[in-house]
């Protein structure tokens, strides 16, 4: 069995200060990833491994009449065929908020089909090839009923009001009616998919009542809780291992139906089972971003000052599951307005329940308001950048609290400067290069600072190296690296001398890596644990009679570059290893957490296995958010309507950056995903069968290298100690927010055509 425990090779470039917090240290997990040595979760090689393959429904609504498994069962190598009738009983599990299950049992294989692609059977065989071949022989008959295929289906209706989403102040309708300038438009965003390059999958192994799961996971403790509840074993009996994650983007935080099937079949067979979803199954086994519809009406003065915003939103959800994509999350805070009203409905359609995709809520919300304000700018003849400054919110208009930090003005200023915004010719269709129409667009984005409590263990080992342990994860955000930097700086060793161990639920507990909260939570926890390890080290050095510092009568010591000495520089100068040897210790270990002091074991369990204990971003006196401004140039072919993004300058305020090199990469990644959303990506539903027809990476168009121009990102953040222990705000979700509206606004500037329906494809322009 392989457990992730490699000492990462030296990956440092540049000078020694790169190893401190805020330095541009190269990824410490980089050498493993570029040499192929990094073993991702379901790449573990286990003896006796059997292979499972899922079979999915080919109708969108109805019931499974019969599943004929005879041919599959007699296929060579087949060990087990599972149907709703033959799978072992699995118990209902609580949801991610910790709400108790609504059903006593859970059926990961469906008898009643509510969406095309729903799992209804599975085959386990000796080899992957045998399982695939046998699965193709399973015959299913259905009693089909009419399906609601998407939001535009006439059967879809107006949906269910979500009262908790209502936000109102002032009298928005009356102020709108009285406003001298009124604009009103409808904005649609499409169904999108996370499409991480690593598919979902897992290896499950039972040893008695102990379950080990190797599965890419954004949340080991949350998923371990689900497995424990499904199979009625204590939480401690479940170990989740996820050393590297090949991209998640919100999709890998929950144990899913196929996860239950793999774990159940492993138990039924008494053998470890590996199950990896095919790429098409990755489009229906968990939800992407829900399709949304918004109407934004703005009432304003001739000076462009907003007097009222009325916002109505709808998102699709599943027939048997609830997903609310909070569509007013940016609408209600981006601009100062004395009157505001927002309401939201959800509409049930026959789809897998939608889920989190990068900046759920903020992303579509920004598409509405950031296009609408551009329309207002055009209407009143004010520059789109200027109108944003005129309506700048000096405090949170909704919470009526001061911003913790809001470097949005600075973002507008430095982005505009680098982009050359002042050279923009205001009239649409007034800039061109041959047959290409050129358009310049701007839009802002924001994401709240989600906070939570965390814990970590820091050890100082006999050789003077430092070890950090946490069950948090690194899916490319750079957790390994920034925690190494945090521990190195806090203890006083080189980053090379820190080993960070993540991705194993046996380590110190951690909450979800989602909502851009992990870096802030974990740097805080590691800082605390490392500080206490350092205190122990210095305490030993001063007080232990065997220590070379004992005679010095010092009350503190300096630890730097792995060596201890007195602050005055007199007395001995010894390495950490020598000190530990002299006092006869082989290690120092410290646990640190940021939980409230009187927390019980129950509080801790709840904190790490549910999201119920997240701290509101408006807690106390401040409203905490990251901010950004995107300046984007598009080139639209006048004859063909093809849109290419040719230049991007984005200025972003994520507070203090723990590692700018890695933060810049994440920002660029978010911007690129936003370009995909604006121009390429769309889950296309076959209206006859309610099926996603482009459920693969050739037809669902994620951006390729050839679609992406140079992207310049500028950090305008300042440390925000209201947001986190070390001053950072969120990084990962922020940068996608505002990209699609900036592109739509640029396309309008290029062509004079307002496309309010994503993606902006050529048929909408010609």
């Amino acid at each position: 069995m392989t457990v992730h425990n490699i000492r990462h090779a030296d990956s440092r470039h540049g000078d020694a200060s790169d190893g401190a917090v805020g330095g541009r240290l190269s990824r410490v997990d980089g050498p493993a990833k570029i040499t192929g040595a990094a073993k991702y979760a379901f790449e573990q090689q286990l003896d006796g491994l059997a292979h499972a393959v899922m079979v999915e429904a080919t109708i969108a609504a109805g019931t499974v009449r019969a599943i004929d498994t005879r041919a599959a069962e007699t296929t060579p190598g087949v060990l087990l065929v599972l149907t709703p009738d033959t799978i072992m009983e699995i118990k209902g599990a609580s949801d991610w908020l910790g709400n108790p299950p609504t059903q006593k049992t859970y059926s990961p294989l469906a008898r009643t089909v509510t969406y095309s692609g729903q799992h209804i059977a599975a085959v386990v065989a000796e080899t992957f090839e045998q399982a695939v071949a046998a699965a193709a022989l399973i015959e299913v008959s259905y009693d089909e009923t009419p399906a609601i295929v998407d939001l535009s289906d006439p059967k879809a209706g107006d949906g269910i009001p979500i009262d908790a989403m209502t936000k109102e102040w002032g009298d928005a309708e009356a102020a709108f009616a009285a406003a001298p300038v009124r604009i009103c438009a409808a904005y649609n965003t499409q169904r999108e998919y996370q499409a991480a390059m690593e598919p979902h999958g897992l290896i499950a192994r039972w040893q008695g009542e102990e379950l080990t799961i190797w599965e890419p996971s954004q949340w080991l403790d949350g998923m371990a809780r689900t497995y424990a509840e499904w199979f009625g074993v204590p939480f401690e009996n479940v170990r989740l291992v996820s050393p590297y994650i090949g991209g998640g983007f919100g999709s890998k935080a929950l144990a899913l139906a196929h996860s239950a099937v793999a774990a159940a079949s492993a138990k039924m067979l008494g053998r470890p089972v590996k199950l990896v979803l095919t790429r098409p199954q990755n489009f229906t086994s968990y939800g992407g971003r829900a399709a949304t519809r918004q109407t934004v009406t703005i009432g304003a003065g001739r000076d462009g000052k907003i007097q009222s915003i009325v916002h109505r939103g709808v998102n699709e959800t599943a027939v048997d599951g609830m997903w609310v994509e909070p569509l007013a999350s940016v609408t209600s805070i981006m601009y100062a307005t004395p009157n505001f009203s927002s309401k939201q409905n959800v509409v049930r359609v026959n789809t897998v329940v939608p889920g989190a995709k990068r900046a759920p809520g903020e992303n579509p919300s920004a598409f509405g308001i950031e296009c609408a304000i551009d329309e207002l700018a055009h209407e009143v003849g004010i520059d789109p950048l200027e109108i944003r400054l005129r309506n700048y919110a000096e405090q949170d208009p909704e919470a009526k609290k001061a911003w913790s930090t809001r470097q949005l003005r600075e973002a507008f200023a430095s982005g505009a400067e680098r982009f050359g915004w002042s050279k923009r010719s205001p009239k649409p269709r007034s800039m061109r290069d041959g047959h290409q129409l050129i358009g310049w667009g701007v839009a802002a984005g924001t994401y709240p600072v989600r906070r939570a409590y965390g814990e970590a263990i820091v050890r100082i080992l006999a050789d003077g190296s430092v070890e950090v342990e946490s069950s948090s994860i690194d899916m490319g955000q750079g957790t390994y690296t920034i925690l190494a930097q945090t521990a190195a700086e806090t203890v006083g060793v080189a980053a090379d001398d820190v080993v960070v161990k993540l991705g194993d639920s046996r380590y110190a507990r951690a909450g979800v890596a989602g909502g851009s909260r992990l870096a802030g939570v974990m740097t805080g926890a590691v800082y605390k644990a490392a500080t206490s390890a350092l205190d122990q080290l210095v305490g030993l050095a001063i007080s232990d009679p065997r220590s070379p510092f004992h005679a010095l009568q010092a009350n503190t010591l300096v630890v730097a570059n792995g060596r201890l000495r007195s602050p005055r520089g007199d007395g001995p100068d010894v390495s950490i290893a020598e000190l530990l040897a002299s006092v006869g210790r082989d290690r120092i270990e410290a646990a640190g957490d940021t939980m409230p002091a009187n927390s019980t074991a129950e509080d801790r369990y709840k904190n790490y296995t549910t999201i119920a204990t997240s701290i509101p971003h408006t807690e106390g006196n401040y409203s905490r958010h990251s901010w950004c401004a995107h300046f984007i140039e598009v080139r639209v072919d006048e004859d063909f309507g093809t849109v290419r993004v040719s230049r991007v300058v984005s200025a972003l305020d994520s507070g203090r950056l723990y590692n700018p090199k890695l933060a810049e990469s994440q920002w660029k990644g978010g911007i690129i995903m936003g370009i995909g959303q604006a121009l390429l990506e769309e889950g296309i539903v076959d209206r006859r069968h309610g099926r996603i027809v482009n459920n693969n990476l050739a037809d669902y168009l994620v951006p390729t290298n050839a679609d992406i121009p140079d992207i310049e990102v500028i950090s305008v953040g300042i440390p925000d100690l209201h947001s986190s222990v070390l001053g950072g705000k969120g990084v990962g979700e922020l940068a996608i927010v505002g990209v699609a509206p900036a592109i739509a606004n640029a396309v309008f500037h290029a062509t004079g055509k307002r496309v309010r329906d994503l993606p902006i494809t050529l048929e909408k322009l010609i």
């Binding site: 590297y244 790429r279 660029k668 990644g669 992406i708």
Partner: protein, 159 residues
């Protein structure tokens, strides 16, 4: 289909013989039978480039290649790119320096493609690199840094 056949593969300069069904792809042979999991499976349909390896020095999608097809050919995977002493290939070093990856899942395929792209003489400009690297998807969006890394490595390889 149950009949197994013995095939002989030369991977990263080492000979392997394995008993597999003829329908086993090179990708599954590498990942499931030979513990060479550096080569990734993103789609299994030739759509993403994560499984890119070299066969006789040319880039090939291992998911669209049967293991039996490449008997007697020189196969190089990401595990065989660095020197025997661990010295990184110029492309690997440039990927690390330019931060040309995040999750790392597309990365072995990107690197194998980039090595071939440079060897093919298709790394003469940023636009050319973007075009000839367009078959390797990266959902983390490391593209600008990948272009920078390929540009840097191409200069080092030439000089």
């Amino acid at each position: 289909m149950t009949s197994q056949t013995t095939i002989h593969l030369t991977i990263n300069g080492r000979d392997h013989s394995l008993n597999v069904e003829p329908r086993v792809t090179l990708l599954d042979a590498l990942r499931d039978r030979l513990d060479l999991t550096g080569t990734k499976k993103g789609c299994d349909h030739g759509q993403c480039g994560a499984c890119t390896v070299h066969v006789d020095g040319e880039r090939v999608l291992a998911c669209l290649t049967l293991a039996a097809q490449v008997e007697g050919r020189e196969i190089t995977t990401i595990e065989g790119l660095a020197g025997a002493d661990g010295t990184l290939d110029a492309v690997q070093a440039a990927f690390l320096e330019q931060d040309a990856f995040q999750c790392g899942y597309c990365t072995p395929g990107q690197i194998m493609s980039a090595v071939a792209c440079i060897r093919e003489g298709h790394a003469n400009s940023d636009d050319e690199i973007r075009e000839y690297m367009a078959g390797n998807l990266c959902r983390c969006g490391a593209y600008p840094n990948i272009v920078a890394a390929v540009r840097q490595a191409a200069l080092e390889v030439v000089s």
